[in-house]
């Protein structure tokens, strides 16, 4: 009885409350990017990242609004996989945000379906990329259109744990090492670490990483993809690549056990100090140092190819795109220009989104001597000066996401010993055919 009265009273109260709330909801955020009173323009801007990046973006956007009082920017964010779920729904309704963070593996898909605006017409005016490395600008082109601008770059690196190597008495590879030398070091570490507690291995089986395969292809003088988005390599190439690590897999498997890798996720053998080396993008240094607590992790360039050249490339990170349905593409281009060129923005972000693309922002980095940002920038500059970086980043084809994922899955099966090299190659090519049409 009293419960009923209370419940009815509660429902009535809540009904009134929700009416009031929906009312303020509708007048608060009803705008869909149209211009408001006084000629003010509102831009929607979506990005992925964590709470730390959210803070940095907020500072940068505040600065932008201060400089451009007639433009208001509404931002929103999500974690990487959720971000793409939300974007694909919006793409179906042709209501993508005016400015959005873009990833190379999605670029062709969004550009080919006409979801992105061609930024060529704003070049030189609202959008100034004159200081950018030519190859980096080209990484945002699909066919002839410019659809994305890279805020930063990263490149592949071999991370190693010097303390762990010291303990085991194994020398790290010299800078001009090749793949055979890498195999030797890997095997030496695993043999030296067999009696350690916990047991220490050299590294995981590197042939399971698709980007390393691409790097190796470039070293063989093979462009991985053709201009029109097809594969440019054959089964023989992939077989040769997978066989490359056979000497550390047989007779005894000296690579880091896959069972343990799966157990440790989202950490890795390298970050729990059970593996002494690992390949990854150089900007993962911050994450690796954070996860492992080892401050002095070192970076080396990738192994050299058959002619002694490394042929590394700068992969654009965190590109920015303008959607084709934007009502204010000019202002959107202006926002991108501000984010990639303004020195103060460079100082705000550090290497959070890779090493900044524009020299002005790189110079503005407030680098602490020996700090993480400094080491990543130093690594990229050294690699660039030593002539290791000679290639343009291969523009991934449409369907790159799925074929990379398939390679990763097969790589895992392969590491478990469920597949032979031939089965791996057959299954991957069958799958790639489906995704690339």
């Amino acid at each position: 009885m009293s419960i009923r009265k209370a419940a009815i009273r509660g429902i009535a109260l809540a009904a009134v409350g929700s009416l009031a709330l929906t009312a303020c909801g509708s007048n608060g955020n009803g705008g869909d990017g149209g211009s408001g009173e006084g000629g003010q323009v509102t831009l929607n801007f979506q990005w992925w990242g964590n709470d730390d990046r959210a803070d940095r973006y907020r500072q940068a956007i505040d600065l932008f609004e201060e400089r451009n009082p007639d433009i208001k920017v509404n931002t929103g964010f999500a974690a990487f996989p959720d971000y793409w779920t939300a974007r694909s729904t919006e793409a179906a309704g042709r209501s993508l945000p005016d400015v959005m963070q873009m990833d190379t593996s999605y670029l062709r898909q969004y550009a080919d379906t006409g979801q992105l605006a061609d930024l060529n017409e704003y070049l030189g005016e609202a959008l100034d990329l004159s200081e950018f490395d030519e190859a980096l600008v080209d990484a945002g082109r699909v066919d002839d259109g410019l659809y994305a601008v890279a805020t930063g770059t990263n490149t592949l690196a071999l991370f190693y744990n010097p303390g762990l190597l010291d303990e085991l008495g194994v020398e790290p590879p010299a800078e001009d090492y090749d793949w055979d030398e890498y195999n030797r070091v890997l095997a030496a570490i695993s043999e030296a670490g067999a009696d350690a507690d916990p047991q220490v291995y050299g590294a995981t089986d590197y042939t399971g990483t698709f980007w390393l395969f691409i790097q190796w292809l470039l070293q063989q003088g093979v462009e991985p993809f053709t201009e029109d988005g097809d594969l440019n390599f054959t089964e023989a190439h992939m077989t040769e690549w997978l066989e490359l690590a056979s000497e550390v897999r047989e007779p005894e498997n000296l690579t880091y056990p896959i069972q343990r890798t799966v157990q440790l996720e989202p950490l890795a053998g390298f970050t729990v100090e059970e593996a002494a080396m690992e390949f990854h993008w150089d900007n993962f240094l911050a994450g690796y140092v954070g996860d492992s607590g080892v401050e002095d992790l070192q970076l080396l360039p990738v192994p050299s190819g058959p002619d002694g050249e490394k042929r590394q490339f700068f992969k654009p990170t965190m590109q920015l795109s303008v959607s084709a349905n934007s009502d204010h593409p000019e202002e959107a281009a202006k926002l991108i220009d501000f984010l990639v060129n303004d020195p103060e923005v460079g100082a705000i972000f550090g290497t959070n989104m890779g090493v900044p693309s524009s020299p002005a922002q790189r110079d503005a980095l407030d680098l602490e001597e020996g700090g993480i940002d400094a080491r990543v920038v130093e690594y990229e500059e050294a690699a660039s000066e030593a002539g290791y970086v000679t290639e343009a980043a291969p523009l991934p084809v449409e369907g790159f996401g799925p074929i990379e994922e398939e390679y990763r899955n097969l790589g895992q099966e392969f590491a478990y010993g469920n597949l032979t090299v031939e089965q791996f190659v057959d299954r991957w090519f069958a799958e790639a055919e489906i995704h690339l049409g």
Binding site: N29, N50, D51, A79, G93, A286
Partner: protein
């Protein structure tokens, strides 16, 4: 996370029923055979029963306990550690969680979730009872067809309708407001609850509304004065589920809410773990604990009625 709390409730109810069912056979052995042996067997059985319940309870509760205790660990000691008791305790994670994300405070996320959850409860309590009344008590042409269609919507996965729904709400300029998440609930689009209430109402004796009709009451009066009070148990059950589902919903808010000021708790929760930069597992654990608390409190308060609502098949009060 969506189902853990309700199932624990159901499991408890089921366990109670199972326990009740076990006693009579034990008592019947008292009559034949020696008393000592029977008693021994009975203690043995009780021991076994409670022992297995305890073990099962431990297995089920372990992850939850791990989460709560991990939220007091330093961030770098969480993943890969299966121990329950932290070596070092810290409150930093909660400080991180309460400090919000990107300038939006924790309480904004909390209030948004609360508004949506309370809105869902109100909407479902109002709309589902009315439509259930229509389906259960009013003869109208095509009633069975409409009922079947409504049940049919239960079979449609959310992911199938999400894109057309998004396009519709987008052209109504309702994206980035709470409307897309609440409107359906105020229009009885949640077929599950309508179905639940129709089934409940069909069990109520027709004599009650017939006598009200003889006294001159119309549909509105019968609904408000006769049916609604009798439907208390099922309404409480529906409200609890509506609250928990809305509170835990991730996909809907992800699609429809664009600005951080409108984000809900589950969206904020995901923000601490990002594989492309540095993940703050501690912040996430603390946020998860904070997100779970309201549901837990809500459940503890109303748990009595959940069992009540599920168990009541006939008339009460």
């Amino acid at each position: 996370m969506t189902t853990t709390t309700p199932t624990t409730g159901k499991a408890a109810a089921a366990a109670e029923a199972a326990g009740g069912g076990m006693r009579p056979p034990a008592r019947s052995t008292d009559h034949d055979g020696g008393r000592g042996r029977a008693r021994r067997r009975r203690t043995w059985r009780t021991f076994l029963y409670h022992g297995s319940i305890l073990v099962l309870g431990f297995v089920i509760l372990y992850p939850a306990a791990w989460m709560v205790l991990s939220s007091f660990r330093p961030s770098n000691q969480i993943v890969g550690n299966v121990n329950l008791i932290p070596d070092n305790t810290t409150l930093d994670n909660f400080v991180t969680a309460f400090s919000g994300i990107g300038g939006v405070s924790f309480w904004t996320f909390f209030m948004n979730s609360m508004i949506l959850a309370v809105g869902a409860v109100v909407g479902i309590a109002l709309s589902s009872t009315v439509s259930a009344y229509a389906f259960a008590r009013i003869e109208f042409p095509g009633r069975n067809l409409w009922f079947a269609l409504m049940i049919g919507t239960l079979l449609l996965p959310f992911h199938v309708v999400i894109i057309p729904q998004y396009i519709m709400f987008n052209s109504l300029n309702m994206v980035d407001t709470f409307w897309p998440l609440l409107l359906g609930k105020f229009l009885a689009a949640e077929a599950f609850f309508v179905f639940l209430m129709v089934q409940f109402m069909r069990n109520l004796p027709r004599e009650l509304d017939e006598s009200a009709r003889i006294d001159g009451a119309g549909h509105a009066r019968i609904y408000w004065s006769i049916m609604l009070p009798l439907m208390r148990p099922v309404m409480v059950t529906a409200s609890i589920f509506a609250f928990i589902w809305s509170w835990n919903d991730f996909f809907g808010p992800l699609i429809y809410l664009k600005s951080p000021d409108n984000y809900t708790m589950p969206l904020a929760l995901r923000q601490y773990v990002d594989q492309t930069t540095v993940s703050d597992y501690g912040g996430q654990m603390a946020m998860a604990v904070l997100a779970l608390l309201p549901v837990l409190i809500f459940f503890i308060i109303f748990q009595r009625y959940i069992v009540d609502g599920v168990a009541t098949s006939g008339l009460k009060g």
